[in-house]
């Protein structure tokens, strides 16, 4: 199961579903039980060559949107729940957010647009949000009212939503003076508040009349028959095969949606998804579900369009600052100087990544335009060697300065390639790099729980807000998916809290610029590349806005008739 707000989403990018290596392990485990297993060499994924995707998905086709048609897309597995407030896994959100909706939605440019809230006002002190609700109806015909919002935010989103927890903490009380108005009072200003009212951030509103007094997790509207306000209704769920959604005939937004139905086919293996797409059994594959090494081949086919769209992910190399010599700032700076980031961008993130300029350069509004890591640490292996000499790590009699365990998740193509390229660059300057590839679960355990690593390659999706990843920097957080580097200080923690507590993006940005400068100096984590994985679709598919990270925004998608 995949999570979109954390490092794991990054690991998903370019992942081949279940990798052959993992399957080989699976086969061997079974074989140990039932028969004998001889080791077989695993095949390496194909390498990507440079070609550019021909076009992007624009809403404006020559004939304009036409209603009708069915689109089939792939998912990697059945969702564990149909309630998008209970998981941050990709399958759960892709499915749940077709049916359920939040008060707002976030565009791929991180702009916040109205959805179930048609408008809102924020008090000057940033403590009171007054929402005016849209005239929406639940799929069972009941009216959508402020009582639903109050019930949902307090009893479902805040209690169960992993990504909503901080917002839930910030809410003091909710008033519902009339069915169309919701007033939320906060305990303290919380800058990201509005952006977390998004379905993809566990902010979906669920119907009070179906959930009140029931067990949220086992309620039928969470498990089998979801009832939301969304444009699509779940019609059929054939376990392990597909979920079929049909147009909601009573959808509250006039004229939408265009497509008659959307089918999500369960195809766990990434290579098989590409084959199914080529065979015409899928019409679209989302970026993190498309094996990125397949993209150049698909781009050569005139029937398809590839595009690199949506939020950017920072690809990171995280130091374990608990271990010497990685606790030494000079060593970290030297190792960054030894990385040819242009080469990494060209060879690992072929065509879909560029060298990062700062810790937040993947979030344009939070990034300091005057900061550029390329000018602070230009690639210079000779200088890197000198820096390591000066830091007290000369080349020893074995030809190395010090050993390093470089850990990566082997089921993620780009994190694995990234680690291999970094290893060769660091070996050049005399580091004895030991590459350690692990499966997803073992990786999480070793890196985030045991902290048994020196450096790890990973990627974080930040959800368009530094709050989306600030837990990886906070000194107080050590759990899974949190601060792996062990770096942090009460001062830095305070800065992040301050950044989250400002009411406007401008005020917040000023604080994030300070944090970015500090991180650029300390380098507990190297922000190497910012990238956006490529998605593929048939040329006829138009108007698909990918939203924050999942497939939730199919409302405006339409098929051109050939």
């Amino acid at each position: 199961m995949r999570s979109f707000l954390t490092e794991a989403i990054g690991r998903d990018v370019g992942r081949r579903g279940v990798s052959w290596r993992l399957m080989l392990v699976a086969v061997c485990v079974t074989a140990l039980v039932v028969s004998a297993c001889s080791p077989v060499a695993s095949t390496a994924p194909g390498s990507a060559s440079a070609t550019s995707g021909p076009g992007t998905s624009g809403a404006a086709g020559p004939g304009g949107p036409t209603p009708g048609g069915t689109v089939i897309t792939g998912i990697s597995g059945d969702p564990p729940t149909l309630n998008p407030n209970l998981t941050t896994g990709i399958s759960g959100l892709m499915v749940g957010c077709l049916v359920y909706q939040g008060l707002v939605r976030t565009t791929t440019d991180f702009e916040i647009e109205p959805l179930l809230a048609s408008s809102w006002e924020i008090s000057p002190d940033g403590l009171t949000y007054t929402f005016t609700l849209a005239e929406a109806t639940w799929q069972d015909g009941q009216p959508f009212t402020s009582a639903d919002v109050e019930y949902s935010l307090l009893n479902v989103n805040a209690k169960y939503g992993p990504a909503f927890a901080a917002t839930g903490e910030a809410i003091e009380t909710i008033e519902t003076p009339d069915p169309r108005t919701v007033i939320v009072h906060l305990k303290h200003p919380f800058g990201p508040f509005l952006s977390t009212m998004d379905c993809e951030k566990n902010g979906a509103i669920v119907p009070k009349h179906l959930f009140e007094g029931t067990d949220v997790e086992t309620n039928a509207a969470s498990t089998t028959t979801p009832v939301g306000t969304g444009a699509y209704v779940l019609k059929e769920w054939v376990k392990n095969e597909r979920l079929t959604f049909e147009r909601n005939p009573n959808y509250w937004q006039d004229g939408l949606p265009y497509l008659d139905s959307i089918v999500l086919r369960v195809i766990p293996n990434g290579a098989s998804r590409t084959l199914a797409f080529r065979a015409g059994e899928l019409n679209q594959i989302r970026g993190y579900l498309l094996s990125q090494s397949d993209a150049p081949g698909l781009a050569e086919d005139g029937r398809y369009k590839l595009w690199s769209e949506g939020p950017r992910y920072p690809a990171l190399a995280i130091f374990n600052t608990r271990n010497a010599p990685f606790d030494n700032k000079a060593v970290r700076q030297a190792l960054f100087t030894a990385i040819d980031r242009d080469l990494v961008a060209a060879n690992v993130f072929t065509d879909y990544g560029t060298p990062a300029k700062g810790a937040f350069s993947s979030i344009p509004w939070a990034h300091d335009p005057d900061l550029d890591l390329a000018t602070l640490y230009p690639y210079d292996p000779e200088k890197a060697k000198q820096m390591l000499d000066q830091a007290g790590f000369p080349v020893g009699s074995d030809g190395f300065r010090f050993p390093m365990d470089l850990v990566f998740e082997s089921t993620s193509t780009h994190n694995a390639l990234h680690a291999e390229v970094l290893a060769s660059m660091w070996r050049e300057v005399g580091v004895n790099v030991n590459l350690v590839g692990l499966d997803d679960q073992t990786f999480t355990d070793r890196v985030y729980v045991q902290h048994d690593f020196d450096v790890v390659t990973n990627a974080h999706l930040n959800g368009g807000d530094p709050v989306g990843t600030h837990r990886v920097w906070l000194s107080t957080l050590t759990g899974p998916g949190q601060n792996a580097s062990g770096f942090g200080s009460p001062e830095l923690d305070a800065k992040f809290t301050e950044g989250a507590s400002q009411a406007t993006r401008e005020e917040r940005a000023a604080i994030y610029h300070e944090i970015e400068a500090l991180l650029a100096d300390e380098l507990p984590t190297l922000t190497v590349i910012d990238f956006t994985p490529r998605a593929v679709a048939v040329k006829e598919l138009n108007g698909l806005d990918l939203g924050l990270s999942t497939n939730s925004w199919w409302h405006t998608a339409w098929l051109a008739t050939p």
Partner: protein, 323 residues
């Protein structure tokens, strides 16, 4: 003979029990957390995580969890999937039906074609035809399953567009039972071909050697000398003598076929036990994994038992040795 069967059943039960015990504790040693698969990597609120742990029984001591599991097992309850909340047994039986739909036709095809090839090669031992069958069998046996599966998809689903690439059925309704059956049949052609290819080759290789051995026997020479027709010699004298090793191979194929389908199911998105196994490993869904180990080991024990009994039936030497 009865004693032989009883001994085999008891020893089979011991093997199955040992597998369950060992796997139960081995799985707990695997790094990873089943909750991660459920809520995603984003750290969930601690109360929510605690609630899930309590519901799964993961907050109890390991030995208590084991006792509970065994208690359930004795009542025929394999527990509930962490990830999907479903009861494991019905879910696995449904999955097993899909796997059987691949394995049984594959084994039948494999044995019919494999034995035919074996006889053809052995009768022409030393000729070009024999060499051809042997090299093709070796080749078929050594092609990686997933590679062959992908190549088939490229040729038949992408280039020629005559077979569906993925899954069991096409999305969209089927007008009648016949349409549904045709659809399922079309979807199963490539997976069945992939699963059976290995076994055709295996049966052909082993069968050729054992038919060849039988052909050298004196009683075959005698039969020929008596002027029996070649076909009669083959059916009455050669094949029964050669059947022992072939039946053994067929029996052991069961376990091999189970593992072989894991790869084939993954490439073809075939929702059988193999794909359930792969996803259960990735999500650390312990009850599902244990259930698969249990079903797989029972079926392997049973398949081997049947193979040995058939072997004993056709080969008196085994029968006498056993009793």
């Amino acid at each position: 003979m009865k004693l032989y069967v009883a001994t085999r059943v008891v020893s089979g039960l011991i093997v199955v029990a040992a597998i369950v015990v060992v796997m139960f504790f081995l799985m707990r040693l695997l790094p990873g957390d089943p909750i991660k698969a459920l809520v995603g990597d984003f750290p969930a609120p601690p109360e929510y995580v605690e609630e899930i742990r309590r519901r799964f029984g993961l907050d109890r001591p390991l030995l208590e969890q084991f006792t509970l599991y065994v208690g359930q097992l004795l009542q025929g309850n394999l527990g509930y999937s962490f990830l999907h909340g479903e009861a494991v047994l019905p879910m696995l039986l449904r999955r097993a039906a899909f796997s059987m739909a691949l394995i049984i036709p594959s084994l039948i095809i494999a044995n019919v074609i494999g034995v035919a090839l074996a006889v053809a090669a052995a009768r022409r031992a030393g000729t070009a035809a024999d060499a051809g069958i042997r090299s093709l069998s070796l080749l078929a046996f050594s092609i990686p399953v997933f590679w062959m599966a992908q190549m088939l998809i490229v040729v038949f689903a992408i280039q020629l567009r005559i077979l569906p690439a993925q899954g069991v059925t096409s999305p969209g309704g089927h007008n009648d039972l016949f349409a549904l059956l045709t659809d399922v049949l079309a979807h199963s052609i490539m997976p069945v071909f992939v699963v059976s290819t290995h076994f055709v080759a295996l049966v052909a290789i082993v069968g050729r050697a054992s038919v060849l051995d039988a052909l050298q026997e004196n009683f075959v020479l005698t039969a020929r000398a008596k002027g029996l027709s070649p076909n009669r010699v083959l059916w009455r004298h050669v094949l029964p003598a050669a059947a022992g090793p072939i039946v053994t191979v067929i029996g052991y194929q069961w376990g091999q076929a189970l593992t072989g389908t894991i790869l084939a199911e993954a490439v073809f998105a075939w929702p059988g036990l193999g794909s359930a196994f792969v996803s259960a490993i990735a999500s650390r869904d312990h009850p599902v994994l244990l259930g698969i180990f249990l079903l797989a080991s029972i079926s392997v024990v049973v398949a081997n038992l049947i193979a040995d009994l058939v072997h004993a039936k056709i080969d008196p030497r085994i029968r006498t040795a056993a009793t």
